[in-house]
C-alpha cells in the first residue's frame, strides 16, 4: 500500500459548495508528488486535509485518507493528531508567519520533540544543530538563540525546512514553500528541499502553481481544476504528452525563458469551458 493513499475525498464548506470533488491520489514512500492548479483549485486543501488542519468552516463529506496504513478520518481526534505528528510534517507557505515571534528559534524546533515525542532536551538540541547545519545556516548555535524577526525570509524558510525534518517524518506536505520568497532565494530553497528529501528518503506532497518547480522536484503530478483531479500522471509523461486538454493548455501557458518575445499564452476559453463542463457533469452525476 502507498504511504499516503487518498480515496474519493470530498471536502466542502459547511452546507455550501464543494471544494474537493472525490480526489484520489497516492504518494509512495520517498516519492515526490506535485499538486498543481490555479488559485482556489483545492491544492492546499488536500494538504490541510492530510495534516488535519482544515479550517473550522470546512468539512469532509466523504472519502478516506490512509496515512501509513490507517484511515485518519476514522480515528478519534487525539489519536489522529498523535499519528499525524509522528509520521508527517508541514513546510508552510509564508516563512514570516510560520515562526512564533515570541519564542527563540531553538525552543521552537526542540520543544515539540521534547514535549510531544518525549526526547531528552540534549538529544533534541543536538538534532536541531545538526539539521540547521544541514540546511546551510551559518553559525547554527547563534541562530538557535535568535528571535525570528532577527532573521531574513530565506533564513526563516531554511529553519522551517530543518524543523519539518527534525522528527524524521515519513511524509512532508510542502505548501508552496517558495512562493513568498525572492526569485533568487527560491532556487536555493528548492534545491535544498529536493536534496533533503533525497537524503532522508521522505515522501513529499508538493503544492505549487509553478510547473518549472514541478519539473525540478517532482516525480508524479496531480493536476486540479475546481477540486477535481483532471490528470494524474508521471512528471515525464506530463511534460512530453499531457493527456488532458487543460494540462496541455497549462503547459503551453508557462512562459518560455528561451524566447521572451513570444508573449504569454493564456489557457484558451474553449479549454476552460470544457473543464468547467466536466466539473458540472461530475456534480450532476453526484446529485442524480
Amino acid at each position: 500500500m502507498s504511504f499516503l493513499d487518498i480515496r474519493g475525498l470530498s471536502v466542502r464548506l459547511k452546507k455550501g459548495p464543494a471544494l474537493l470533488r472525490r480526489v484520489s491520489l497516492q504518494v509512495q514512500a520517498a516519492e515526490v508528488r506535485g499538486l498543481v492548479g490555479e488559485s482556489g483549485a483545492g491544492k492546499s486543501m488536500i494538504g490541510k486535509a492530510v495534516l488535519g488542519i482544515l479550517p473550522p468552516s470546512v468539512e469532509v463529506s466523504e472519502g478516506e485518507i490512509f496515512l501509513d496504513g490507517v484511515d485518519l478520518l476514522r480515528m478519534a481526534p487525539s489519536e489522529r493528531r498523535r499519528k499525524i505528528g509522528a509520521v508527517a510534517a508541514l513546510i508552510p507557505q509564508d516563512p514570516l508567519t510560520a515562526l512564533n515571534p515570541s519564542h527563540r528559534i531553538g525552543p521552537q524546533i526542540t520543544d515539540r520533540l521534547v514535549d510531544i515525542l518525549g526526547w531528552t532536551r540534549a538529544r533534541a538540541e543536538a538534532r536541531a544543530l545538526e539539521l540547521l547545519a544541514e540546511v546551510q545556516i551559518p553559525d547554527p548555535a547563534r541562530v538557535m538563540r535568535s528571535y525570528p524577526h532577527e532573521l531574513s525570509g530565506g533564513m526563516r524558510q531554511r529553519i522551517l525546512i530543518a524543523s519539518a525534518f527534525a522528527a524524521e517524518p515519513k511524509l512532508i506536505v510542502a505548501d508552496e514553500p517558495t512562493t513568498a520568497l525572492d526569485v533568487t532565494v527560491q532556487k536555493q530553497i528548492l534545491r535544498l528541499i529536493a536534496g533533503m528529501q533525497a537524503r532522508h528518503g521522505t515522501a513529499l506532497l508538493f503544492v505549487t502553481h509553478d510547473l518549472g518547480v514541478v519539473s525540478k522536484v517532482c516525480q508524479k503530478l496531480s493536476v486540479l481544476y475546481s477540486g477535481l483531479v483532471v490528470e494524474d500522471t508521471s512528471v515525464a509523461e506530463f511534460f512530453t504528452a499531457p493527456r488532458h486538454p487543460y494540462s496541455a493548455a497549462l503547459l503551453a501557458a508557462t512562459p518560455k525563458y528561451t524566447d521572451p518575445l513570444a508573449g504569454l499564452n493564456p489557457v484558451p476559453d474553449a479549454v476552460i469551458d470544457a473543464v468547467r463542463a466536466e466539473v458540472a457533469a461530475f456534480d450532476r452525476m453526484r446529485h442524480g
Binding site: 495534516l51 488535519g52 493528531r81 508567519t97 515571534p101 515539540r112 510531544i116 522551517l160 524543523s163
Partner: protein, 283 residues
C-alpha cells in the same frame, strides 16, 4: 551622528523608570502609611482648620500640604487614601484581567460555541450603562472595599475579553499555529504555548490601563459617597470635600487631584514602557 533608534529607546526607558518611581514611592508610602504620614489622618483640630500649604504665608509647621476645614492634615490623608486606591487598583485590575483575558483567549482561539457564548455575553453586558450598573450593585451589596472591587471586575472584564479575543483570533490564523497542531500539540497546549505569549504584551498594557481606571472608578464612587466607610480617607472623598471650600482652601481639592492624575498617568505609562521594553518584536 545621533542614531534615531537610540533616542526612542532612551525615551521608552525614561517613561518606564519615571512611572515605576512614582508608583514605587506611592506603594511604599501606602504600605507604611502609619509611620510615613506626619499626622493622624483622622485627627480633627478646628483651631487649625484650612491651613495653607507650607510655602504660603500663614502655614503651620508640620502641615506640609495644609489642612482641610476640619483641621485634618491633607498630606497624611493623601498617603492613607493611597492604601485604598492602590489596593483597588491591584486587586480589581488583576481580577478583571484574569477573568476577561481568559474568556477572550478561549473565545478567540477555540471559536465555535465557546466564542458564540462569550461574544453574546459581551454584547449583552455592554448594553448596560456602566455607572448606573455599579451604583446599583453597590446599593444592593452595601458600600465597602470589596463591593467596589466587584463592581469594577463585573463591569470592565469585557474590555479585556473583546481585545484579547480579537488578538487571539489574529494569532490563531498564523502558520505557526498550524505547524504546532501538525506536530501534535493539543488545543489547550497550542493556546498556552503559541498564542498566549503573543497576546501577553497586549494583556500587560490593558492591565496597567485597567489599574488606572480602577483608581478613577474608586475615586468617582468615593466622590458620590458610595465607597468605603466615610471615616477612612480616600482621594475621591477628599476631592468631594474640597469642592465645597474651593474658594477658601484650594489645596484640599488640588493635591488629591494631582496625586490621582499622576497615579493614573503612571499606570498607563508603565504599560507602554513595559511593552516597549519586553515585546520581542518591537524591541
Amino acid at each position: 551622528m545621533v542614531d534615531g533608534r537610540s533616542l526612542t529607546r532612551r525615551r521608552a526607558g525614561a517613561r518606564l523608570w519615571l512611572s515605576l518611581t512614582w508608583l514605587g514611592l506611592l506603594c511604599l508610602a501606602a504600605l507604611f502609611a502609619p509611620w510615613v504620614a506626619p499626622k493622624d489622618p483622622l485627627a480633627q483640630d478646628l483651631f487649625l482648620g484650612r491651613l495653607p500649604p507650607f510655602w504660603v504665608t500663614g502655614a503651620e509647621p508640620g502641615y506640609y500640604l495644609g489642612t482641610d476645614s476640619l483641621g485634618r492634615d491633607v498630606l497624611s490623608r493623601i498617603i492613607h487614601g493611597g492604601r485604598v486606591a492602590l489596593m483597588v487598583a491591584l486587586i480589581a485590575g488583576v481580577a478583571t484581567c484574569l477573568l476577561g483575558a481568559t474568556l477572550g483567549l478561549l473565545a478567540g482561539f477555540l471559536r465555535g460555541w465557546v466564542d458564540m457564548l462569550v461574544s453574546r455575553f459581551i454584547d449583552i453586558w455592554m448594553a448596560f450603562p456602566p455607572v448606573l450598573f455599579s451604583i446599583l450593585l453597590i446599593a444592593v451589596m452595601g458600600p465597602g472595599l470589596w463591593s467596589i472591587i466587584l463592581a469594577i471586575v463585573v463591569i470592565d472584564w469585557t474590555r479585556f475579553a473583546r481585545v484579547i479575543r480579537a488578538e487571539a483570533m489574529a494569532q490563531g490564523a498564523m502558520d505557526y499555529v498550524a505547524s504546532a497542531r501538525v506536530a501534535g500539540r493539543g488545543r489547550l497546549g497550542t493556546m498556552v504555548r503559541e498564542i498566549l505569549p503573543n497576546v501577553l504584551p497586549t494583556v500587560v498594557v490593558l492591565l496597567t490601563l485597567e489599574m488606572g481606571i480602577a483608581v478613577i472608578v474608586e475615586a468617582i464612587l468615593s466622590f458620590v459617597n458610595l465607597s468605603i466607610s466615610t471615616d477612612d480617607p480616600t482621594w475621591g472623598g477628599m476631592i468631594a470635600e474640597g469642592r465645597t471650600s474651593i474658594h477658601q482652601a484650594w489645596w484640599v481639592l488640588v493635591f488629591p487631584l494631582i496625586t490621582l492624575f499622576l497615579t493614573v498617568l503612571a499606570f498607563s505609562q508603565l504599560g507602554e514602557g513595559l511593552k516597549d521594553r519586553f515585546d520581542p518584536v518591537l524591541r
